[in-house]
């Protein structure tokens, strides 16, 4: 009888609903983030799932020039669950809302978002007050690109170059390098997202911990790419693990296909997708450019850090096969890059007059150095290896490391380039016929 009574009590307890206090959450913003309004809103209101403390400066609304446009202090209504601030009549333009309230449990919650009156607002990452990427953010992005290259290039190398000739030692190192790449991509992706959020919020990290990141995650291309890439890399990590656990390299094919697909997400979140003149051709070229660069850099890393130290017997064949693959992907990378430069730089003088052009020149110089190095390998080392000489040479090993280092430096400049805006395209002059008409 007693066990039955206990079971019945447990079932009743499980069935009963209850209320509990958790962290306060923002439920609704009026106007909402990224909203394009037809007319000026009377106020900005934020509804929370529980009461919050609101201060007079809890909600600040600024125009794109930084002018405060609120018509009075912020205050709480509706049982302290809504924080609101009245607004002046807003002219056409984009507006930034910065808010902070204190929840009843003592946490300072904050957020930033943008809306537009008769204009499409900029993303929250370009809210009034945000300063743009810092040097640290560039370094994080560089690490991210490097991680991506280690995963995608490593997978391509393992499948297309090494194939069935792999040895346990090569596989052990391959999985180690690929794991480093996938973990770096996940962690640096999260760090990059937080750094971008900190810039948009203009808050120290200590206060950012209770920042509402949903407008950034759900209202920007950058946020969508963050979601897409984080989930994608988690899945690639799982597939890599499964391939290692079950000794089935065939599973690496879907991981490679998925990795290449993820690179398209990076292209769609970059400037190639939003700049004037962008089209499916520029997005495709961007994807080809990034994919080819990843295969080249990641493959070089595999040759230098996996095959050369771990499998002397494989060196010759791996070098020759990678040489063929690298020739193709570097060709694709250069053609796609040249096309993108042609589209993004309307005038040749932009190369030395605009910041984007200068960074592109630096990148092109580094690529030229890496290509010369590759050519040296192709025309000097390759024939020697074909004749069965040089597989034990330390000079080749050091030379491979050198080419890898230059290729990695190219990625660093690429990290700076993706955040630089290409120069605006000049307005088309009306034709003489149009002027006469």
């Amino acid at each position: 009888m007693r066990p039955r009574a206990l079971a019945a009590a447990a079932i009743v307890a499980l069935a009963l609903p209850a209320t509990a206090l958790a962290h306060a959450n923002l439920l609704q913003r009026v106007p909402n983030f990224s909203a394009r309004l037809a007319s000026s809103p009377p106020a900005v209101s934020l509804r929370f799932d529980q009461g919050v403390d609101v201060f007079s400066d809890s909600i600040q609304v600024r125009s794109s020039t930084g002018k405060l446009v609120s018509a009075g202090p912020a205050h709480a209504v509706d049982g302290k669950q809504v924080a609101t601030v009245p607004l002046q009549r807003l002219p056409k333009g984009a507006y930034t809302v910065r808010w902070h309230v204190t929840s009843f449990e003592g946490h300072v919650l904050s957020g930033v978002y943008t809306f537009g009156v008769r204009v499409v607002p900029p993303p929250p990452t370009e809210a009034y007050g945000s300063a743009g990427p810092t040097t640290f953010e560039y370094i994080v992005k560089w690490g991210y690109f490097l991680g991506l290259a280690l995963v995608v290039g490593g997978l391509a190398f393992r499948l297309l170059v090494v194939g069935r000739r792999s040895t346990p030692a090569v596989d052990r190192r391959f999985y180690l390098v690929a794991t480093v790449g996938v973990v770096a991509s996940i962690e640096l992706g999260i760090l990059g997202f937080l750094l971008r959020a900190r810039d948009a919020f203009q808050l120290p990290l200590g206060r950012l911990v209770y920042g509402d990141l949903s407008p950034l995650a759900q209202g920007t291309r950058f946020g969508t790419a963050f979601i897409f890439m984080t989930l994608g890399f988690a899945l690639i990590a799982a597939i890599l693990f499964l391939a290692w656990l079950t000794d089935r390299p065939v599973l690496l094919w879907p991981a490679l296909a998925f990795g290449l697909f993820l690179i398209s997400g990076l292209s769609l979140s970059g400037h190639s997708a939003v700049e004037t003149g962008s089209s499916w051709r520029t997005e495709l070229a961007d994807w080809v450019h990034l994919s080819a660069a990843c295969i080249w850099v990641g493959g070089l890393a595999q040759l230098a850090f996996v095959v050369w130290p771990a499998a002397p017997a494989l060196r010759r064949e791996a070098f020759l096969r990678f040489s063929q693959l690298a020739g193709g992907v570097v060709g694709l990378m250069v053609v796609a890059g040249a096309y993108l430069a042609y589209v993004r730089l309307p005038q040749a003088s932009d190369l030395w007059q605009e910041r984007y052009g200068k960074v592109l020149l630096l990148k092109s110089g580094l690529v030229a150095l890496a290509l010369s190095w590759g050519a040296l390998h192709h025309f000097v080392v390759r024939p020697a290896l074909q004749q069965g000489r040089g597989t034990g040479s330390r000079a080749i090993s050091r030379s491979l490391l050198g080419e890898s280092a230059v290729a990695m430096a190219v990625l660093l400049v690429a990290a700076v380039l993706v955040d630089a805006n290409p120069p605006p395209r000049p307005e088309k002059q009306p034709t003489r016929a149009a002027v006469i008409r």
Binding site: L16, P17, A18, T19, A20, N25, V209, L213, T230
Partner: protein
């Protein structure tokens, strides 16, 4: 589009119940009997690994605060690493028994994430109580799994290991706005 947070907590609670019951069954019937079917050895590590993967969507879609996002990311990685190490050991891909220590590490990191994530004292609110309880339960789990590493055949430590997962599940069922355990709580609780 996203399900309510409490529903997600209950889903993970269900996963922990399954995990805990598998471990309890293994302790009751004994290691040898449990592993008469070789696939059974993979069940709980695979569940832990899959729960780690399933935590990633929670991390990226529930971004109402940065600390929640980071905490869920930590739990995702802790579960994936602990599950993966156990799978590697079962499969024979990992030889060193030191890999068993990934489990206490995962518990310790998860517990620390709970405690750092909650800044208020135990009795401030129900959420604060649950976060503290989950954090200390996970830290207790870390100690039990270290003891289990030293004495892997001990029925006490193996039972403790299983019960930790059941305790975590119970606490997860209690969490959030509409909780199915512990009945009604005054809306004034924790308020000022």
């Amino acid at each position: 589009m996203e399900p309510p947070a409490e529903v997600v907590h209950w889903l993970f609670g269900t996963g922990f119940v399954f995990l805990g019951l598998c471990l309890l069954a293994e302790t009751i019937v004994g290691h040898e009997v449990w592993r008469r079917r070789s696939w059974r050895a993979y069940v709980w590590p695979a569940v832990a690994f899959l729960m780690g993967i399933a935590m990633w969507p929670v991390m990226v879609f529930y971004t109402s605060s940065a600390i929640h996002m980071l905490a869920h990311g930590v739990w995702a990685q802790a579960m994936m690493i602990a599950g993966a190490a156990q799978l590697g050991l079962v499969r024979g891909k990992l030889r060193s028994s030191l890999w068993e220590l990934t489990m206490p590490l995962a518990f310790a990191v998860s517990g620390a994430a709970f405690l750092i994530h909650e800044q208020n004292p135990w009795l401030f609110s129900r959420a604060a109580f649950l976060h503290h309880a989950l954090g200390w339960t996970a830290l207790a789990g870390a100690l039990i799994t270290i003891a289990r590493f030293v004495r892997p055949r001990s029925p006490v430590f193996n039972t403790g290991f299983a019960l930790i997962f059941l305790a975590v599940a119970t606490l997860l069922f209690c969490d959030r706005n509409v909780a199915p355990i512990f009945g009604h709580l005054s809306p004034l609780a924790g308020g000022r």
